[in-house]
C-alpha cells in the first residue's frame, strides 16, 4: 500500500514537474458505485455533467461490482484508510453503515455545514426517512430509489377479459382463474423478501419489527409469527400449487424472463425495471399499484423504497467534503433527477423533480413510469417510513431459504415463519452486540 502510494506520488510529482499543471487544481473526489451496464453509463454521464458544470471539483465514478461487493470493498478500503468520498450502499446494508458510528457523515449535516441549503421536506414522502436516523436526520442521500409495482401484459388481460387486480381477493377469485384459463401463468414476482414481505408490511401498515421498525436504538425483534403475513404466504402457496402463481427460483431475472417472454401475464417487479421490460417485451404492457388484501386493510398505504443511497464517508479533508456537498446539491437538482428518472426508471427523489417531469409531459407519453412515484406518494402510515435492521442481508437469505422450503413443500408456512423469526432475531441480536451495544 505505502510503497505503491510512494511510487504513485513520485510519478505524480514527476508529471506535474514536466507538464506543469495549472496552479489551481480542482478538488478530486471518488464515487464507488454498483451500477453496471446501462445504469453505469448513466452514472458516468451524471459525473461528466457535474464536472462540466463547474471547475472547482472533479468527481470520478468507479464501478465496484454488485451491491454486496461494493460495500465489502468500501469497508476494506475504510479499514485501510483509503475509503472513497462517496459510496453507494443498498437498502439491506444501510444498517451496517449507519450503525458503525463514525464511518459516514450524515448527508444533512454535510450539506448544512458546507452552506448547501437542505430541507428534508423537499424530498418525496416515501423516500424521506428511509436512510434517516431515529431523529429524522438524513444520513444517506437516496440515489436510486424504486418500489415494487405490478406490471401486466395488456394482450393477456384482454384475452382473458380481466383488468389488473387492485386487491389480492380480486386476483384470487377473478383475475388469476381467468388468466389461467386463457393459457397464462397469471403471476410471478422477483424478490420475495422485498415485495412479499417488507412491502406487505408497508402496504398494510403493519409493524415489521419493534423499536419503530428498528430505527430506535436497542435490539429490535421481528414480528412475523403473529402477523397476517402468514395468511399471505398460505394463499401464495395455494396459488403456486394451483398454477396461479409461478416461482422460478430466487434470482431476479429468472422470474422476470417468463413475463418478458409472454408466458406469465403479470409480474411484480421494481419500478426501476420499466426500461428493461420496455426493451425486451414484444407486447403492450402497463403497470399499476402493488395489490393489497382488503381483509387486512381498507386503507392501503404507500410502500417502502428499495435500491440504494449515497453515503459520504468520513476521514477526508474539508475541501473534499465540501466537494461532496456540492455534488449532492447537483445530484438532487430537478434537472438531474429528471434525467436520472427518465434514463433509468428510478423515481425522482424530490417533489421539484417530480413536478418538472409532470410539466414536461413525460407521464403523458409513458403513464407507466409514474406508477412508482405515485405509489410512494400515497398516504403514509405509522409503519411506512422504512426499516433499519442489521445483518439484513442474512435475514433476507433466511427468508429466501424458508420460502423456498414452503414452495417445495418441505415446510409448512407456520414452521417456516417460526424459523425465520427465530433466526432473524438471533441475527439482530448478534448485530447489536457486534455494533457494541
Amino acid at each position: 500500500m505505502t510503497i505503491r502510494n510512494l511510487f504513485a506520488g513520485a510519478m505524480a510529482t514527476a508529471m506535474t514537474a514536466t507538464i506543469s499543471l495549472p496552479a489551481l487544481a480542482a478538488t478530486d473526489i471518488t464515487w464507488w458505485h454498483a451500477m453496471g451496464g446501462q445504469l453505469g453509463e448513466t452514472v458516468n454521464e451524471i459525473a461528466e455533467k457535474f464536472n462540466a458544470s463547474q471547475s472547482d471539483y472533479k468527481i470520478t465514478p468507479v464501478f465496484k461490482g454488485t451491491y454486496e461487493e461494493t460495500m465489502t470493498a468500501g469497508i476494506a478500503a475504510f479499514r485501510g484508510g483509503e475509503q472513497p468520498n462517496v459510496i453507494q450502499v443498498f437498502d439491506a446494508g444501510a444498517a451496517t453503515l449507519i450503525g458503525a458510528k463514525g464511518a459516514v457523515i450524515p448527508a444533512q449535516d454535510l450539506m448544512n455545514d458546507n452552506g448547501v441549503p437542505f430541507n428534508i421536506e423537499d424530498y418525496i414522502s416515501g423516500v424521506r426517512y428511509f436512510y434517516a436516523d431515529s431523529d429524522g436526520t438524513m444520513i444517506g442521500m437516496p440515489f436510486n430509489s424504486s418500489t415494487p409495482i405490478l406490471y401486466y401484459n395488456e394482450d393477456a388481460l384482454k384475452k382473458a377479459g380481466v383488468t389488473a387486480p387492485k386487491t389480492w381477493e380480486e386476483f384470487q377469485s377473478v383475475t388469476a382463474p381467468k388468466l389461467k384459463e386463457a393459457g397464462y401463468v397469471p403471476l410471478s414476482q422477483s424478490h420475495l423478501p422485498w415485495i412479499f414481505t417488507e412491502n406487505f408490511y408497508s402496504r398494510h401498515n403493519l409493524e415489521f419489527a419493534t423499536r419503530a421498525n428498528g430505527y430506535e436504538s436497542g435490539t429490535p425483534v421481528m414480528l412475523l409469527t403473529e402477523s397476517p403475513i402468514k395468511g399471505h404466504f398460505t394463499a401464495v402457496k395455494e396459488w403456486y400449487d394451483n398454477g396461479m402463481f409461478g416461482w422460478y427460483g430466487t434470482g431476479w431475472t429468472d422470474n422476470q424472463k417468463p413475463f418478458n417472454e409472454g408466458q406469465v401475464a403479470m409480474w411484480l417487479g421494481s419500478s426501476g425495471s420499466f426500461g428493461g421490460v420496455k426493451a425486451s417485451a414484444k407486447f403492450p404492457f402497463s403497470a399499476t399499484y402493488l395489490p393489497y388484501w382488503e381483509s387486512i386493510t381498507k386503507d392501503p398505504k404507500q410502500t417502502f423504497i428499495g435500491g440504494a443511497a449515497l453515503f459520504a464517508m468520513s476521514g477526508h479533508p474539508k475541501e473534499e467534503n465540501e466537494a461532496v456537498a456540492q455534488f449532492f446539491k447537483f445530484l438532487t437538482s430537478p434537472e438531474i433527477q429528471y434525467f436520472w428518472h427518465k434514463e433509468t426508471g428510478y423515481v425522482p427523489i424530490t417533489t421539484a423533480a417530480y413536478d418538472l417531469a409532470k410539466k414536461d409531459g413525460y407521464y403523458k407519453e409513458t403513464p407507466q413510469a409514474e406508477i412508482g412515484i405515485k405509489q410512494l406518494s400515497l398516504p403514509a402510515g405509522e409503519w411506512t417510513k422504512g426499516y433499519r435492521l442489521g445483518f439484513y442481508v442474512q435475514v433476507r437469505d433466511v427468508m429466501n431459504r424458508e420460502y423456498g422450503k414452503i414452495f417445495a413443500g418441505e415446510k409448512t408456512v407456520d414452521a417456516a415463519f417460526e424459523t425465520i423469526e427465530e433466526e432473524s432475531n438471533n441475527l439482530l441480536d448478534r448485530f447489536s452486540k457486534t455494533m457494541g451495544n
Binding site: M71, A100, G251, D254, V393, G404, K405
Partner: protein, 293 residues
C-alpha cells in the same frame, strides 16, 4: 555422490526465505488472523471489537442450516472426488490402449482443463437452463421435470455434474502419464499369466498406479472442498435461496456478503481443523497402503 557444503550456516535459510515469506504472509498470517477474529465480535469497520470466547462457534453451529450445509459438503465432496477420479481413470485406461489418433484424443480430453471454474459454471448453467438448456430439455423428454434453482436436488445435481466435468481432465493427464510409466515388460509378463483384462488391471495396473491415485485423491478432495467455489457461485447466481451450499461458500456468504467477520472466521477455523484432521488421516491410514517403487 558429492556432498555439497554451504559456506555459511545462514546461507540455506537465506535461499529459503522467499518461499518461507510467501507461505507466512499468504498462509500463516491470514490463518492466525482468522483464529484471532473467531474469538471476537467486531463491527465490519473495526470501530469496536469485543472478546466473546467461543460464542461465535456456538452461534454458527447452532444455526439450523449449519449441519445441513456440513452434510451436503460431505456428500458433495465424496461424489465429486469419486466420479471425477473414476471417470478420468476409465478414460485414461481407454486412451492408453489407443494407438492411432491418440494425441488428438488426448488433446480433446485435456482441453477442458484450460477452462476457469466460473466459465465452466457459466457453460454449465447454459446447458442446465430452465428455459433453453439442452440438458434440461433432454431430462424433460425422459420425464424428469428438471428445475435448476427451484428444486434443491436438481441444483445439487447440476453443481456436482459441472464440478466433476471440470476436474476430469486434470485427473486424466495424471492417470495417463501414470499408466504410461508402468513398464511394458511387467504388463507383458502379466498378460502371459492372466487372460482377463479386468483382473490384470486390478492386480497389476491399479496397485502400480496407487502413488498417482493417492496424490490425486488429496488434490481432488481439496478441489471439491475449496476450488468448486466458482462453479457454485455461478450456479447460484449470487442468491443461495433454498439451494444447498458447501461450507466454504457459507464462509463467503456470511463474511463477504453479510459482513459478519467473527462468525465467518469461526466457520473457517472449523473448516481448517476439519481439513487438518482429514489430511493427517489420509497420510496415516491410506498412504501406508501405497507402494512407491
Amino acid at each position: 555422490m558429492k556432498k555439497s557444503q554451504f559456506r555459511s550456516p545462514l546461507y540455506p535459510y537465506l535461499l529459503l526465505l522467499p518461499q518461507l515469506s510467501i507461505v507466512v504472509i499468504f498462509f500463516y498470517w491470514p490463518a492466525a488472523e482468522a483464529i484471532r477474529s473467531s474469538f471476537y465480535l467486531e463491527d465490519p469497520f473495526g470501530f469496536s471489537s469485543t472478546f466473546v470466547g467461543l460464542d461465535n462457534f456456538k452461534d454458527m453451529v447452532l444455526r439450523s442450516d449449519y449441519v445441513a450445509t456440513a452434510r451436503f459438503t460431505v456428500i458433495f465432496s465424496v461424489l465429486v472426488t469419486f466420479f471425477s477420479l473414476a471417470t478420468a481413470l476409465l478414460l485414461a485406461v481407454t486412451a492408453d490402449r489407443v494407438l492411432r489418433g491418440a494425441s488428438t484424443y488426448k488433446t480433446l480430453l485435456m482441453w477442458v482443463y484450460a477452462i476457469a471454474p466460473p466459465v465452466a459454471g457459466l457453460i454449465g448453467i447454459m446447458l442446465f437452463d430452465n428455459l433453453v438448456g439442452p440438458i434440461t430439455e433432454f431430462f424433460r423428454t425422459i420425464g424428469w421435470d428438471f428445475k435448476l434453482g427451484v428444486n434443491r436436488f436438481d441444483t445439487a445435481f447440476a453443481m456436482i455434474t459441472i464440478s466433476i466435468w471440470k476436474q476430469i481432465p486434470v485427473n486424466f493427464i495424471f492417470f495417463l502419464s501414470g499408466l504410461q510409466g508402468i513398464p511394458k515388460s511387467v504388463q507383458e509378463a502379466a498378460s502371459i499369466d492372466c487372460k482377463s483384462t479386468l483382473r490384470r488391471f486390478w492386480t497389476i495396473t491399479f496397485p502400480l498406479l496407487a502413488p498417482t491415485g493417492f496424490f490425486l485423491l488429496i488434490i481432488n478432495i481439496t478441489y471439491s472442498l475449496f476450488d468448486t467455489f466458482g462453479v457454485i457461485d455461478v450456479v447460484l447466481k449470487g442468491e443461495p435461496g433454498n439451494n444447498p451450499v458447501t461450507l466454504v461458500y457459507k464462509v463467503f456468504l456470511d463474511g463477504f456478503r453479510g459482513n459478519d467477520l467473527g462468525g465467518s472466521s469461526a466457520q473457517s477455523v472449523i473448516l481448517m481443523v476439519l481439513v487438518l484432521i482429514l489430511t493427517v488421516f489420509q497420510f496415516r491410514m491410506i498412504e501406508r497402503r501405497v507402494h512407491y517403487s
